[in-house]
Symmetry: D2
């Protein structure tokens, strides 16, 4: 698959993933081992009670960035576990996830993700994640 | 606050937290150091492309169970970081989070959560989380 | 294997593991899914500069408790990843690790460990860990 | 402090930290937010039973790299928690830890570390860690 085909394919998976689709998740770019995605911020849907974007949205972006980066080298995958550090309050127009593979092994891929809140085109780092992603095996 | 007052108060916070409210999050019980919450499963909103409840929903339930258990002993809090292990595909009517405090220190609380998929009243463990929760300090 | 045979076998593995043996690691008890181990504290070897037992010793005890609990149900294993929360300064005569399996799947086992500093027979919780342990496959 | 003074100071802390000193830990370089350290491999002391460097040594190097990188911007610190992914068997002459600060906040610093096994001068990535480090407060 070319990067462009991978992007179209991943966007079609998102369309079949109600939770991701309902958040408006969009693939900005993908290449083997790397992915960049965006979720537009809809405060009245996505905020928590301090007025910042809810950690679960950041968790979704972080997990997706790790899983999709892993998927770009390993095909169909599922997340085994991830750790998310929330670094700063998230306020902005879009949440951006930048995922990259740290190590691809035979059965698992370890990936990391930086999560940014983007406001007027400027990005502020708001979360960092590391994930262990397993190749999916249908039974 | 009595446990019953704590429950009413926390439910009022949820009502002001659009993301939590939109998922239908409900406090089942709360006492100092412990909380149990539920999110009703709406597959057409919450599933991922393998047909299971999306990890981000489990992440929300896990993080909330940890944060609310911490909040029951520490007041207003924010999550610093959490780690989530996804243990089994989640299928069911409700996702249940059972949070409990492991250690409350002066500035942080460490808590854990078991996450269950409940089907016909039977619970299956689907995720496990540990979180570091900080007392919130307004500036 | 009976629990007693498992204990003897694990102690023989420790004897072949220089790092574990040099710390004096000892299996207190083991049964399927559960293990308890101890490391005697030698302050002049094991402390850090604030006068507490070094986090790396707690990390060793936590990781071992998780891996050995996993091994008690899965045979030869290797640690994929773990997360360790340090909860309190560790001072005492022995460091105790209590490991238990959360979920055993086909290829991995998720386990947790409580780590205690024991002084005059009294235990204080000083660390908590969660680990993903993989079945070892020789090639 | 200049970087050179920081290096001398940190090496003096190591000298007062029995566990770190006994492993022969050495600071290779340090600057605000970054540190590189090495531990010489002594197989008969540091290996586990599969013949690789024990995970606890990698854990020590990872935790130290994170804590010392944090300390280079925040002074005296203690580790709150860390997560370590073991990526490949570690075989070599030296274990190298490269720590860098992801985000320094008022009370905590989040840092990451790459851990390498170095053999004949060539480095292979064997572990990856993320840590939350707290400023130390004497009471």
């Amino acid at each position: 698959m070319t990067n462009e085909e991978m992007k179209v394919y991943l966007q079609s998976i998102i369309a079949k993933t109600p939770f991701a689709a309902s958040l408006g998740a969009e693939v900005l770019s993908i290449s083997p081992g790397n992915v960049e995605l965006a979720v537009p911020v809809v405060p009245e849907k996505m905020n928590q009670h301090h007025g910042f974007v809810h950690g679960a949205i950041l968790g979704f972006v972080a997990d997706s960035a790790c899983a999709w980066a892993a998927g770009s080298v390993a095909g169909d995958v599922v997340t085994s576990e991830y750790k998310l550090n929330l670094l700063a309050p998230a306020v902005g127009d879009r949440i951006i996830g930048v995922g990259s593979v740290i190590k691809a092994s035979q059965r698992t891929v370890v990936a990391k993700a930086e999560v940014y809140a983007e406001k007027f085109g400027e990005r502020k780092l708001v979360a960092f994640a590391v994930a262990t992603i397993a190749r999916f095996e249908s039974k």
